[in-house]
């Protein structure tokens, strides 16, 4: 067990995967000498050489497309897209090619590609550096989508993603890269919680609060603040966005009768909409209030001086908890107004 930053935990997980399987190669812009703009691949090119850690030309569609070709050839490419906003030039290769190849070939071609994507906001960056594109990928059949929220999960989940024979979109909450946590390096991926599982991060009895990636920490803080006010919040870390592990969610909502989902991504057709609909179907008779979403607004990611109004913070989450509890708050009465 050692204390490690989130970024270092991914770096360590990548190193392990590369040691164990010579077919694992890393590809991306600036990942070699520089170690990536976030230094996640720091030192790996030095130790594994330029054919295992490949500085690619500045072309995202090219990176994804050649990774698919390498997968045909038996490699396990781990692709770094430098920032969320730069994944869109590769969108065709991801959703029309990578996601569908196994299906098209009736299982003859495996596509064990891991797409590492620093995502989300909160670091004061210029435009295109803070997007939350997870719904596009979770909406695409054929992709697995996961988002760790802490260093231990980052360490094991990256190894599982690489070991998976399916393409995995691995979402890294960039504003948590420097957060530290304990990591048990001896924990083999299989022995840890499977990357497809949701996790109860904190137990509680009044409200179920679901989040993933960067919002988990904010939700844990919210649970502490709520308990100061006498409300017991159960926080669930989704971990896998596709497929969603509904067991822990259903169990929790049956216990609390109330669901709040929080994410940075825009509200309309975001993950929260899907979770609310599914939980409503599965737990209708247990719900004591309609599921509540606390999300980014339906606006393009704003300039950095406005981003903290856009991102759900502790207070907006507590406001959502209040609503799920049916308490009077700023939005009381709005439901009747059409």
């Amino acid at each position: 067990m050692s204390a490690m930053t989130f970024g270092k935990a991914i770096n360590t997980g990548l190193r392990k995967a590369m040691e164990q399987d010579p077919k694992v190669v890393l590809m991306g812009e600036d990942i070699g000498r520089l170690g990536g703009v976030f230094r996640i691949t720091d030192g790996l090119q030095k130790d594994f050489g330029p054919h295992r850690v490949i500085d690619t030309p500045l072309a995202e569609s090219g990176i994804m497309g050649t990774a698919i070709g390498m997968a045909y050839r038996g490699y396990r490419p781990v692709v770094e897209i430098q920032f969320d906003g730069f994944v869109y030039p590769a969108f065709d290769q991801i959703v029309a090619q990578m996601a569908k190849l196994h299906y098209r070939t009736r299982g003859m071609v495996k596509v064990p590609i891991t797409l590492r994507l620093p995502f989300g906001g909160g670091i004061g960056s210029p435009e295109h550096h803070s997007e939350s594109p997870e719904a596009y990928f979770a909406h695409t059949a054929g992709l697995r989508v996961v988002a760790p929220s802490n260093p231990q999960d980052a360490f094991t989940m990256i190894q599982e993603a690489i070991a998976s024979d399916d393409p995995v979109v691995f979402l890294e909450p960039k504003r948590r890269y420097h957060d530290k946590g304990d990591v048990d390096e001896s924990l083999a991926p299989g022995a840890a919680l499977d990357m497809g599982s949701a996790r109860v991060a904190v137990e509680g009895s009044d409200v179920t609060l679901v989040a993933y990636g960067p919002m988990v920490k904010t939700c844990l803080d919210a649970a502490v603040a709520a308990s100061d006010e006498g409300v017991s919040v159960e926080v669930i870390d989704l971990r896998s966005l596709s497929p969603v592990d509904y067991g822990p969610l259903v169990g929790s909502v049956k216990k609390t009768g109330r669901l709040v989902v929080a994410h940075e991504a825009s509200r309309t057709l975001g993950l929260g909409a899907e979770l609310a609909a599914e939980i409503t179907e599965r737990c209708f008779y247990h719900l004591e209030h309609a599921p509540v979403r606390v999300t980014g607004f339906d606006v393009p990611y704003p300039p950095s001086k406005l981003e903290f109004h856009h991102l759900p913070d502790l207070d907006r989450i507590l406001d959502g908890v209040d609503r799920a509890l049916g308490r009077t708050n700023s939005l009381s009465g709005t439901e009747e107004e059409a």
Binding site: D30, L58, A59, P303, L314, L318, S330
Partner: protein
């Protein structure tokens, strides 16, 4: 190819500042060579001022006044020289690093900084300046330039379009697609590639196996390589290319061979990937030193002129600092503005909720938001 068949970049000023005659390009500098020292001094002033803006931007970022700054130190000749060739009714599509181009274009000083301070995504009105907001997504803007140029052509107008991008951008599909469109439609567009040798940590060799300027001819676009640290050469080749476009002869391509002497951005540490000797080598080819040597040698610039320009640079820097430091934060409600051109019911509801939510804090002003205590102030 327009010129540069031998691959050697066009040079009109030797590295020690001697004016070299050039059969093809002297025509394009006739106004400057004919004793019009004002025009030469204007070029010099813009180089000095923009270098000062660059230094001020870096300082402001270090002092927490800007979120980020992309230095263009070393690229003043390529940017100022080419920008001086652009007519008022020509349109510009550039990337984030073309701050000197924007300055020469006459973008107001505070507007240059808004994007970097994080108060707005686009700092100016593109139709007042005929310059699009600068682009962050690598390689997206050449397509816009070609589309605009197709419009110019279809309208029968006699203006041209210029698009700036880096050596890294030439790898993008979009940039290659833009050349396909430009050639097919013979659009009046100039592709201006600043090959500053680095795309963050990646040397230009990762993007191209031959000089980047050689790529355009394969698309049927004439191309020229120019010494990007020679302001007169940059001005001349860009004038020629824009004339070529305005005259209805179609697209052309310029590779300005220059060097990024600073970091990629203030978030970057070039010592991790760049050899110090390489930097020293390029410092020896400083574009301002070269031009200054020429101007001094030909008696156009003396100490008085130098200090006059330095004063102007200080004044611009002070104005930028003043504007940046006192730039107001946008109102929270601006979040919801301009998402759509027309009304949008769902967004209006979200805006209403947001306003009620915020009003809740105002009503209970003794109730400080929790966020301010925990996650605020990132």
């Amino acid at each position: 190819m327009l010129t540069g068949d031998d691959g050697a970049p066009v040079q009109l000023l030797s590295p020690d500042g001697q004016r070299r005659p050039h059969e093809r390009y002297d025509r394009l500098l006739a106004d400057l060579d004919s004793d019009d020292s004002n025009a030469l001094l204007a070029l010099y002033e813009d180089m000095i001022v923009t270098r000062r803006i660059d230094a001020e931007g870096t300082a402001l970022q270090r002092q927490g006044q800007l979120a980020l700054w992309p230095p263009f130190l070393g690229q003043e000749a390529a940017q100022v020289g080419s920008a001086h060739a652009i007519n008022r009714d020509d349109f510009i599509f550039a990337s984030y690093r073309e701050i000197a181009v924007a300055y020469v274009r006459g973008i107001a000083l505070p507007d240059l900084m808004k994007q970097w301070r994080g108060t707005q995504n686009a700092g100016w009105n593109p139709f007042e300046s005929n310059m699009a907001p600068t682009q962050v997504v690598i390689g997206a803007q050449p397509l816009h330039a070609v589309g605009y140029a197709m419009g110019v052509q279809f309208d029968g107008a006699e203006s041209a379009v210029i698009t700036y991008f880096g050596d890294g951008a030439t790898s993008q599909g979009d940039v290659n697609e833009s050349m396909v469109f430009a050639a097919s439609f013979q659009a009046p567009v100039v592709f201006f590639c600043q090959n500053n040798h680095w795309a963050i940590s990646e040397p230009v060799g990762i993007q191209a196996h031959v000089p980047i300027g050689l790529r355009a001819p394969g698309f049927g676009i004439p191309s020229v390589r120019v010494d990007g640290n020679d302001i007169l050469a940059c001005l001349a080749v860009t004038r020629e290319a824009l004339e070529h476009a305005r005259a209805g002869h179609g697209p052309s391509y310029i590779e300005a061979v220059t060097y990024r002497m600073g970091a990629h951005t203030t978030a970057d540490d070039p010592t991790r990937y760049r050899d110090a000797n390489e930097l020293e080598d390029w410092k020896g080819r400083d574009p301002i030193a070269r031009f200054e040597a020429y101007l001094t040698g030909s008696g156009i610039l003396d100490d008085a002129g130098r200090s006059q320009v330095a004063e102007k640079a200080d004044a611009v820097a002070a104005a930028i600092r003043e504007a940046t430091i006192h730039m107001p934060d946008p109102e929270p409600e601006e979040l919801f503005e301009h998402v759509y051109a027309g009304p949008h019911a769902v967004l209006e509801r979200q805006r209403d909720h947001f306003e009620r939510y915020r009003a809740g804090f105002a009503e209970h002003s003794n109730h400080a938001p929790h966020a301010a205590l925990t996650e605020g102030g990132h």
